[in-house]
Every structure is written in structure tokens, then in C-alpha cells.
Amino acid sequence: MSRQTDTRVRVPDYPTRAFSRTKPLGLGQRARQHRSFVLGALLTALLIAAALLSFVWTPGSAYEMDMDAALQASSSRHWLGTDAFGRDLASQILVGARASIAVGLIAVSIGLALGVLLGLIAAARRGWVEEIIMRLADFTFAFPALLSAIMLTAVYGPGMVNAIIAIGIFNIPTFARITRASANAVWSRDYVMAARACGQSRTAITLRHVLPNIASVLVVQATIQFALAILAEAALSYLGLGTQPPEPSWGRMLSEAQTLMFQAPLLAVWPGVAIALSVLGLNLLGDGLRDLLDPRLTRER
């Protein structure tokens, strides 16, 4: 058997990209090459997909109790087994994603809307306005989300809405601070001076120059706050201050599994994995976005 010899010139396998590339890669291409961003985006997509899927289909029922099927191990019928009341664990985890996303989305929106507004006002007005806003932010910061949630619960009773409000309030000073800090940096730029020399008002400069230039910082912070909100929701539900039964929530699944730690340890593992993966995914997404949107902040790898 005669082997055909390959006469083509072999191209050495060392990276030549840096030299051959004529045009800088677009955002989409760079995103695909960023491994942690891709992983983060996948995990986040998985979280959202789980929540969406739970509206139309779940493998079993997340609500229906079946005492005969209590504490079963995984099987073809109950993929992740059942809890002490015989509810399907996989279904509960899918439905529980809804609570996490709802809390994250609304709480981050509250924080983003009010915090960014306050931060922008502080940076644009300076002087005593800035002092008052930032001292109020410090004051709010002194109360962790858990503490404000407990206070709200004490006054209005436990529930998901109160948990969302508490986490949202906690997000306001975070966004206010980061907005003010980045906005102040933009305000000292030459192009803001040039815009002022062209007669633009503070409001116009804030909207046209400051906001677009800090948008990437805010997007990154929002994903990180989203992850923190999921954690906070889980913590509040674990303490019985968040999502109320029979609505499934990862935090509450953890607290219910706690008493059965030695009989059925997997009951705690699955919601724990769900929380960990969601938070990890959002954090990786945030880090990746930061690298992609603002390459100057990239850490050396």
C-alpha cells in the first residue's frame, strides 16, 4: 500500500494571530474566546431556562404531596428523588429558580433605578447634595439586607415581596456609590469640559456623556448584585423570611433538608448546587462582561 506524501508546506503551529490579525476582533468574537464569560453565560442561561421551563413543564409536581413516596432516592420517576413530603425535588428546583430570578431581577432593578439616579445627582451637583446623598447611602449600608428584611418582616409580616424590597433597598447604596465614583471620574474628563464649553447643561451632560461612559461598570455591577440577591433570597428563605410555603424556594429547601441531614443528605445538596451554580454563573458572567466591555480593567491572566 503506497502512502501518498503530503507535499503541502506545513504551517508551524505556534500562535500567529497577533501578527496576522489586521482588524481587531469584534465584541462577539472576543466574547466567544473568553472562557469564563462563555461558562458564566451558559450557567446563567441554564438558570433562566430552568425558570422558564418550570412554567410549562416539570418532571413531577413541585406542590403535590405524596407521603407514600417520601424521601425516595433518585429514580426514573423522580430524577433527584423526593423530599419528606414526597414532592419531586427536580420539579421544586426548577420552580425555585423562578423565585431566585424574580427576586434578583426586581431587587436589582430597584437598586439600579434609584441608586444610579442618586449617584448621578450626587456627581452632577457636588457640594452639600453629594454629601447628603452619600451619607444617607452610608447609613443605609450599615443595615445589611438580612437586617432590613427582618425589620420589614417584623412590621409587615414575612413574604417574598418584603424580601425583594429589603434586598432592593440594600442595593440602592451599592449602586449609588459605584455610580457616583465612576460618574465623578467622567465629570473630570476633558470631553465633559468641552461639552460644558459648548453650553450643555448638567442634565444633558449626565445623560449624553456620563451615563454612556459608566454603563459598562453598571452592567457588570448589576450581574454581581444579581448573584448577591439570589444568595440573600436563599438566606432569607432559609430563615423563613422570604418565599413562603407552598411556593418552592432553594433557601427553604435547604432549611427543610437541614433536619434530615443524616437520613437524606442529598436533599440539601441539590438546592445547594443550584444556588452555587447560579451565583458562580452570574459572577463569571460579570467578570467576563467587565473584561469584554472595559479591557483596561482586565486582570493579567
Binding site: 476633558d190 469640559m193 468641552a194 464649553a197 459648548c198 450643555q200 447643561s201 461612559n213
Partner: protein
């Protein structure tokens, strides 16, 4: 009435070391279509004077005196009224074209901004006008490049874009703060020529700030030499350049690098000492101590303004700037007259 009348402008800055008088008692007038140069070392107050004209000083600055544009007092004007004037009646070109354009917006939009703001143009009108303006300042194929971002232009091009932006609404007064300092020497002259053309075209008044004697010599009719926040010498550019009455002006000229006459010692002459911190300025002459003619009185007594030459020929109103007297500040008249002999 002169277009711009600045009288006894004084700017105090609050610094962590105490109050600093950054600009002291600066006065000048500028006619429509006239050009004025401000020259001096860094920290002499020339940029602050320029910012004061447009009301762009930092908030902690205290301003006294008077700045009148066409008879309207600008100091103490509300931010709202100032915004209506900036970019419309008066405009400014900055030193750093690399950072004076917003990196996230296309240049067309940035040039169109003042047009929409002050002249109420529609988006399409402003865009069309921005194209014309960019073409006028020499951006090739302006129509195709309207949506390009600042980083796609060179420094010289960006400065041209900044000029287009400043001139968009046809201001009466243009303040150019070191417009060519950040540019290559080859580009500098072209930018200055462009400024000259546009100033003549629109009969604008130009305040040109520079530390470069060459730039000043070729581009302005009238000159203020600033040191330590005060105007130490002022007059028509030819007069000041010819006579160099104030010791500081003489020092500046001596420190110029010259090709034809290399200094014997092989070193460029310098002005001894360093610019004093504004907080530590002596009560008397700010140049006291560095001046070769310093006497004890110089530290205490503020130097009076001495008119060295008063043009006797009454000039027609359109050439009113020719009437500018030559003035220098020094305690001792003989020091100023020495310069004339030298």
C-alpha cells in the same frame, strides 16, 4: 463698545494649604475681530483666566472683578444663562484633542450637539451643517466619516473636529487654550493657520493662550505676559517683542532655544529659581526673588503699572486695538527702561 471687557479679574482658589490668589487684577479689552495672546509659564493663571471668561471655573474658586461680553456682565450670571452663551456667543478649544472628544459617541453627533442646543436645528439639519463644518476645517470626506469615533482620527484631525464643534454656532469670542501644544510641530502650523482663517472669516475675537513665543508672535496682535497670576507686561505684540521691558519677558526671550546663535556656554539660559507656589506669593511683585533686579522693596510693595508707550495717533474705531498702550509692572522705572536700551 468693546466685545470683551475684563477689568480687575481676581481669582482665589481654596487649596489644602490655604487660599491662593491664582489670578490678580487682570484687565484687558478685546474688540470684535481682534486677537489677544496670553503667555506665561504653567501655573501663571492663563488657563484660569480663560476658564473664567466662559464661567467654567471650579466651584470652589472665588472670582472678583468684572467680565463683560458686549456689555453684559458674565460674573454672577446664572448657570442657565451661561449655558445659553457658551457654545453660542463664546466657545473654547482645549489643549488635549485626544481626550476632549467623548469616546463613546460618533464625531458627527458631537459637532451637531451645539447646533441642536442653541440653534434648535433638527437632527437632519444639524447633521448636514456638521458635515459642512467638518469639511470647512479640513476633514476629508466628512460626510462618510460622520459616524466614525474619535479614536479613528489623528490628533490633528481631532483638534480640527474640536474647532468645528467650537465654531458650530458662529461665536463672537473664541478662547483657544494651548490649541497646538499636544500636536506634532508639522500639524501645529496648519491648525494655527486654520484658526486664523476662521477668525478672519467670522470676524471673531480670539484669545489664544500659549507658552510658545513663536505661536504668539505669528498669531496675535495684542499680548499679555502673565507671571504668578498678574499681567507683568502688555501691549501690541510688536511693541512687547521689540522692547521686552519687564525682566520676566526678557527672561522668557533669553530662554528661547535659537538655532543660529548657540549660547557660548553650551547651555540654554534659564530664569533662575522656580515658579513660586501661589500660596506663597510675596505681597509685592510675584517675580521678586527670581528677578535679577530684586531689591528689598520688591517683596513688600505691589509694583505699579507703568505706561511705556501711549500711541498718539488716534486710530479709527475698527482698528481700535491699535490704540493699546504698552504697559509693564515694576516698582522701578529704570528697570523697565533698561530693556529698551538692551
Amino acid at each position: 463698545m468693546a466685545l470683551l471687557e475684563v477689568s480687575n479679574l481676581t481669582i482665589n482658589l481654596q487649596t489644602h494649604r490655604g487660599r491662593a490668589q491664582a489670578v490678580r487684577d487682570v484687565s484687558f479689552t478685546l474688540e470684535r475681530g481682534a486677537t489677544l495672546g496670553l503667555i506665561g509659564e504653567s501655573g501663571c493663571g492663563k488657563s484660569l483666566t480663560a476658564l473664567a471668561l466662559l464661567g467654567l471655573l471650579p466651584e470652589h474658586a472665588q472670582v472678583d472683578g468684572s467680565i463683560q461680553l458686549d456689555g453684559q456682565e458674565l460674573l454672577g450670571l446664572s448657570e442657565r444663562r451661561l449655558c445659553a452663551l457658551r457654545g453660542n456667543r463664546m466657545a473654547m478649544v482645549f489643549q488635549e484633542p485626544m481626550s476632549a472628544l467623548n469616546p463613546v459617541h460618533g464625531i458627527g453627533r458631537q459637532v451637531a450637539e451645539p447646533l441642536r442646543l442653541h440653534l434648535g436645528m433638527s437632527r437632519a439639519q444639524a447633521r448636514a451643517r456638521a458635515t459642512e463644518l467638518l469639511e470647512r476645517v479640513g476633514i476629508a470626506q466628512a460626510a462618510q466619516r460622520l459616524d466614525d469615533y474619535p479614536h479613528q482620527f489623528s490628533g490633528g484631525q481631532r483638534q480640527r473636529i474640536m474647532i468645528a464643534m467650537a465654531l458650530a454656532c458662529g461665536p463672537d469670542l473664541l478662547v483657544a487654550d494651548e490649541p497646538t501644544t499636544a500636536l506634532d510641530v508639522t500639524v501645529q502650523q496648519r491648525i494655527l493657520d486654520l484658526l486664523q482663517e476662521l477668525v478672519a472669516e467670522h470676524s471673531m475675537a480670539l484669545v489664544l493662550i500659549s507658552h510658545d513665543l513663536g505661536v504668539i508672535a505669528q498669531n496675535v496682535e495684542q499680548l499679555l505676559v502673565m507671571y504668578g497670576g498678574t499681567v507683568v507686561e502688555s501691549g501690541m505684540t510688536e511693541a512687547v517683542f521689540a522692547r521686552r521691558a519687564h525682566p520676566y519677558t526678557r527672561g522668557l526671550f533669553a530662554a528661547r532655544p535659537q538655532l543660529q546663535a548657540a549660547p557660548a556656554a553650551g547651555h540654554l539660559p534659564t530664569i533662575a529659581g522656580a515658579v513660586p507656589e501661589l500660596v506663597d506669593l510675596p505681597a509685592g511683585c510675584p517675580f521678586a526673588g527670581r528677578c535679577p533686579h530684586t531689591r528689598d522693596d520688591c517683596y513688600v510693595q505691589p509694583p505699579p503699572a507703568r505706561t511705556l508707550h501711549q500711541p498718539s495717533m488716534p486710530a479709527p474705531a475698527s482698528l481700535a486695538f491699535w490704540r493699546q498702550p504698552h504697559v509693564a509692572r515694576c516698582l522701578y522705572e529704570q528697570v523697565l527702561t533698561q530693556g529698551a536700551k538692551a
